[in-house]
């Protein structure tokens, strides 16, 4: 086992809207002991909420009988959250990630904007007709890490 890994989970859940909060609760519980502020914890919860919401409303077009997979790796200095669906996929990732772009009425098109502003890195892998994986990374104690690198 990689001793660098502090904790690791892999879970699958139905694409039901009530599972958006389930994903948030799991994330909160996993990282509440790490060296992050309440504000950062809240921001990570928002990013996860947006990614799972996207899988349900865009990937699966609101269908509640499909599966979403969430994997989380928590290491000493970083956490990586991957959220995967087997939905319709994204044709133009760059367009989908543009702030204000939305294909649905009364949605602000801010899901990806929140993910990118609240996490240290966001990677989107998608195949049309086969699904999408969003990988969210967050560095713990980024200021300390950056200062150390500078020295």
């Amino acid at each position: 086992m990689n001793e660098n890994i502090y904790n690791k989970i892999s879970m699958q859940f139905l694409s039901k809207s009530e599972n958006v909060s389930l994903a948030r609760i799991v994330i909160s519980s996993l990282i509440s002991t790490r060296d992050i502020s309440m504000a950062e914890l809240d921001e990570i919860k928002v990013a996860v909420s947006e990614a799972v919401t996207n899988s349900i409303i865009h990937g699966y077009r609101g269908r509640e009988d499909c599966m979403i997979e969430m994997k989380v790796n928590v290491a000493a200095e970083q956490m990586i959250i991957s959220i995967h669906d087997d939905g319709i996929g994204i044709d133009d990732i760059e367009l989908a990630m543009r702030p204000g772009y939305s294909t649905l009425g009364e949605h602000m098109g801010l899901g990806f904007a929140f993910m990118t502003s609240f996490m240290d890195n966001v990677e989107v892998q998608s195949n049309v007709g086969r699904g999408t994986t969003v990988i969210l990374s967050k560095n713990f104690n980024a200021s300390v890490a950056q200062a150390t690198q500078a020295i």
Partner: protein
């Protein structure tokens, strides 16, 4: 999410006050929208105050509902305002840009620490 309504008079105008409690995400966004809509329809009130003191979480699904109500109120010449938002909710309101079109009270904790101006 729970929501309760009252009418309050501020100066010469009557405001429909919606007190919201809990988390606002996609699971409750439809219900949130419908309850606000129904009350706005029957109250015939053109000013809406969202009291978000007891809102513990909001994401873009909830913010989208607020933007939708703003557009509706603005089309009728009405106003919408937000009070009591906690720090995390307030930061999301700023990140979404809603503060540019909606009057939002700043959390006391933030102006006390100097993060935002009073």
């Amino acid at each position: 999410m729970q929501i309760s309504f009252s009418n309050k008079k501020y100066g010469n105008s009557v405001w429909l006050v919606a007190k919201i409690k809990g988390e606002i995400d996609m699971a409750v966004a439809g219900d949130f929208r419908q309850k606000l809509q129904d009350k706005m329809d029957i109250s015939n009130c053109h000013n809406l105050l969202l009291n978000m003191r007891d809102v513990t979480f909001i994401d873009s699904s909830g913010l989208g509902v607020i933007l939708g109500r703003y557009r509706q109120m603005a089309a009728m010449g009405g106003k919408i305002a937000i009070s009591g938002a906690k720090e995390n909710v307030y930061r999301l309101l700023l990140a979404s840009g809603l503060d540019k079109i909606i009057q939002i009270d700043k959390p006391e904790s933030l102006w006390r620490t100097g993060e935002v101006k009073k």
